[in-house]
């Protein structure tokens, strides 16, 4: 592989019997790449670059007005309702992230480490744990809305049935509980994914390592802390990055449970909902400009954090190996 790499550092334009740079030869490579490159460029790349440019103009409805520099970004931080909605929504997204992280690195990790050595019912457990993750977040959101409904909801009925009737409450109707419900439901829905990933990573740890440690008298907890956990770094890192992206992009579940305004009283508002409202429901003449500015900030924030996170994990991995 290394040799092939060095051989192929020639000019790509040249055609020769021994293809330079590719096994296929450049004409075939271009033909093979073209469909994907064209579709991706037209429907993903071009719109994304355009979205950036939208943010720097003043819009009157769908007509692009004058170049306005960072005016739209300024609006996000100085004008209502954006000024107060933005930090609140960001807080809620971060809470979603924190909730999922706590849940998957305690309960999820425990389940994965109990499960990976099991023979009996292992597949059954994996299937059961993964099911909620595959169901649409919109369906999950609506399902829990029905389950938690104040009068006829099964959750309150269950609480009354076991004598905890005073705990029955309109879970999604009051600001004090609505957000926590969404955080918990999200964490519950996502748990199957870390269980599978951690399970795969645990299966890759050579048994001799833990065996040797237990011969030396290490307790189960010591073995876990000093051997298993460090070897899980890359799996935990991968899961954390994907959880971060997922929590920042959360839309369907909050939409199903709190509507596009994040009811009650914005208690369940998240960044994507704020973007959706600004772009499609505000009716403001400069809706496109301001919402594109918000989209641009989110692009940079999510992509930036994900990249930084990835490089930190890579560095730690290299240190370990």
């Amino acid at each position: 592989m290394v040799q092939a790499d060095q051989l192929s550092r020639t000019k790509p334009r040249k055609r020769s019997p021994r293809p330079s740079g590719t096994v296929l030869g450049w004409p075939a490579t271009v033909v093979f790449l073209a469909p994907a490159v064209i579709i991706f460029s037209v429907f993903v790349l071009y719109p994304m670059i355009t979205a950036f440019s939208y943010a720097f103009f003043d819009w009157q409805g769908t007509a692009r007005g004058a170049f306005s520099g960072v005016e739209n970004f300024f609006t996000l931080f100085t004008a209502e309702p954006f000024k107060s909605e933005l930090p609140r929504a960001l807080m809620h997204n971060l809470l979603l992230f924190a909730g999922a992280m706590v849940f998957q690195n305690t309960v999820g990790l425990a389940i994965a480490s109990f499960l990976y050595k099991r023979r009996r019912f292992k597949k059954l457990f994996q299937t059961l744990y993964t099911l909620p993750y595959l169901v649409s977040p919109l369906v999950i959101g609506y399902l829990w809305t029905l389950l938690l409904s104040p009068l006829f909801g099964p959750v309150n009925a269950l609480l009354r049935a076991i004598g905890l009737g005073e705990l029955a409450q309109p879970w999604l109707g009051q600001p004090s509980t609505a957000l926590w419900v969404i955080v918990l439901v999200t964490a519950w829905q996502w748990l199957g994914f870390p269980i599978l990933l951690y399970g795969a990573a645990l299966g890759g740890i050579p048994e001799e390592l833990t065996e040797a440690a237990s011969l030396d008298g290490a307790t189960a907890w010591q073995r876990f802390r000093t051997i298993t956990l460090p070897l899980l770094t890359s799996a935990i890192g991968t899961v954390s990055i994907l959880t971060f992206i997922g929590s920042m992009e959360a839309l369907a579940l909050p939409y199903a449970m709190g509507g596009s305004t994040g009811s009650p009283a914005g208690a369940t508002d998240v960044l994507s909902l704020m973007f959706y409202r600004t772009a499609f429901e505000s009716g403001a003449s400069n809706a496109i400009g301001v919402s594109s500015a918000l989209a641009t900030l989110l692009f940079i924030f999510i992509f930036g954090v994900a990249l930084a996170f990835t490089s930190i994990i890579r560095r730690r991995e290299r240190k370990l190996s």
Binding site: A4, P12, G21, T22, V23, A28, T29, F32, L33, A36, I39, F40, V42, F43, V44, P47, M48, T50, A51, Y54, V107, I111, F114, R118, K123, F125, Q126, L128, Y129, T130, L131, S136, P137, L138, V139, Y142, L143, L146, F152, G153, P154, A157, L158, L191, F193, L196, L197, A200, A201, E207, E211, S214, L215, T238, I245, E249, A252, S272, F280, A295
Partner: protein, 299 residues
């Protein structure tokens, strides 16, 4: 990737260990094992119970549910399904979802296969950049580009059009598909193609007859795994679809929940209809789904 194939226990510890103290049993004996098992079962119930309640409730009547929200459907009643399917147009939504999902998964898999093969078999800066651009799509919140996407499709006359949605989803599927397929193609030895080349095979023959059969497992992973997010997506059709006959299931659900507010069994039936294909897919293709979920690990 081979998560579901059980690992064989390491055969016999080295003989030298025989003389030493026997290692303490892990999990601390029967009580410990019982605790672990109960923990696993309890969480299994927590994971699945809400979904079970969804299925049970769809088989009961509104009156039964008002009287007792938690009972089992002893006389299962399928009227809610007929109502959701016919009256609430879930039949149409279902067909649309199926068409859009299958169409876009097929298209994105085919173009990604071609691209992944070319990327895996070239070592130049140009292709490396193309690959990096594709892969960046895995980390970017692409849906935020919805406004330009809307105007783009509008300009092409593809707003409120299933074909437009298929093209869009196909494009969105390229990053993941290229990522999985490229790493798979890279593992295949070059000798195969060199031999075929000597026999006078052209690039496409080589791809079609030699490489494609070898990457079948990866194709299965990509197809199955892309199916799930497209089937579940509600954001793009919510904004791009105008008329009800073009709605996919998730966006159909959003209007349905406004219209049928008090008709609980029908609401639950709608949720079940939107979920069943995924559960079936998962049960027949667990391996591919798990491989897709753990694909990020190999990198």
């Amino acid at each position: 990737m081979s998560l579901l194939t059980e690992k064989k226990p390491a055969a016999g510890a080295p003989a030298a260990e025989q003389g030493r103290r026997r290692p303490a049993r892990r999990q601390g004996g029967a009580a410990g094992r019982f605790a672990v098992s109960s923990f696993l079962w309890v969480y299994a119930v927590i994971a699945v119970a809400p979904l079970m309640v969804m299925v049970f409730s769809s088989l009961r009547t509104t009156r039964e549910m008002a009287r007792n929200p938690l009972a089992l459907p002893l006389n299962p009643n399928f009227a809610s399904y007929t109502k959701a399917w016919v009256q609430a147009s879930f039949g149409t939504f279902f067909t649309n979802s199926l068409l859009v999902t299958i169409g876009s998964v097929l298209l994105s898999t085919v173009v990604s296969l071609l691209a992944a093969y070319a990327l895996a078999r070239s070592k130049s800066r140009v292709t490396a950049i193309i690959e990096a651009v594709f892969l960046s799509g895995l980390m970017l919140p692409v849906y935020l580009a919805i406004l330009p996407v809307f105007y783009l499709l509008d300009g092409m006359g593809l707003v409120d059009n299933k074909f437009g949605l298929i093209m869009l989803y196909a494009a969105l599927g390229i990053p993941f598909s290229v990522f999985v397929l490229t790493s798979f193609f890279r593992q295949l030895p070059l000798e195969l193609e060199e031999a075929a080349r000597i026999d006078g095979a052209g690039s496409f023959t080589m791809f079609w007859h030699i490489m494609l059969p070898l990457v079948k497992p990866a194709i299965a992973t990509v197809v199955v795994f892309r199916f799930v997010p497209i089937w579940n997506d509600f954001f793009y059709p919510l904004i791009l679809m105008r008329s009800k006959e073009n709605y996919t299931l998730p966006v159909g659900l959003t209007t349905f929940f406004g219209e049928y507010q008090t008709d609980w069994p029908t609401l639950f039936a709608g949720l079940v209809i939107a979920t069943i294909p995924l559960v079936v897919l998962f049960l027949v293709a667990t391996k591919q789904i798990v491989a897709g979920l753990t694909a990020g690990m190999s990198k």
